[in-house]
């Protein structure tokens, strides 16, 4: 880590021969906002499955890319679908 800092300082001293690496923020678009989905249906198990891990857990917002409101709707829909045995609580 320290060595890398030294290197970058040297590059800076010698003029910017090497371009500085800048992480570009990934543009995330909520699928439901994009498609203008008004109601996240708990009966649509195939869509909801995309928001679950292989273990059957609800994926985090940072993984799904959903906006806050739709992430909340997705979580509620998954819980409703689980209650009706459309989706599993756990899968091994």
């Amino acid at each position: 880590m320290a060595r890398r800092e030294q290197g970058s300082r040297r590059d800076r001293d010698q003029g910017s021969r090497r371009e500085r690496f800048v992480r570009k923020p990934r543009v995330r678009v909520c699928f439901f906002c994009k498609d203008k989905v008004g109601y996240v249906d708990y009966k649509d198990a195939a869509t909801l499955r995309r928001y679950m891990s292989d273990r059957g857990k609800i994926r985090a917002r940072r993984a799904t890319g959903c906006c806050t409101k739709h992430q909340r709707d997705v979580a509620i829909a998954i819980k409703n679908a689980r209650e009706m045995a459309l989706l599993p609580y756990v899968s091994r």
Binding site: C33, V37, G38, Y39, N80, A85, P88
Partner: protein, 100 residues
């Protein structure tokens, strides 16, 4: 009047006639209380995501109806007495619909 959507899960081991009878009784529960059934979507027999009461398959049906909100609890309370009833879920789709 409010629009409700109830998904009922019935025992898939029952005959088609018994299932139709149970769905007819469910419609009766609604109409007796001044409601009106807008439609019944029969999904049919499906594999359950997990075992319920040692059953692996269930018969799914979605009943959409209009009913006075104060009668909802009466209808839901009577549902477990239907033949072959496993479980049911009632939602108000309009309550969760967002305007994009």
């Amino acid at each position: 009047m409010r629009t409700y959507e109830t998904m009922v899960l019935l025992d898939a081991g029952r005959s088609d006639a018994e299932i139709e009878e149970a769905l007819g009784k469910l419609s009766g529960l609604i109409t007796e209380r001044g409601g009106e059934v807008a439609g019944i979507d029969r999904w049919g027999r499906r594999r359950l995501a997990y075992e319920i009461e040692h059953l692996l398959d269930g018969y799914y049906a979605v009943v959409t109806y209009n009913l006075e909100p104060d009668k909802r609890s009466e209808v839901e309370g009577a549902m477990p007495f239907l033949e072959g009833f496993i479980r049911a879920k009632t939602v108000v789709p309009a309550a969760r619909t967002r305007t994009p």
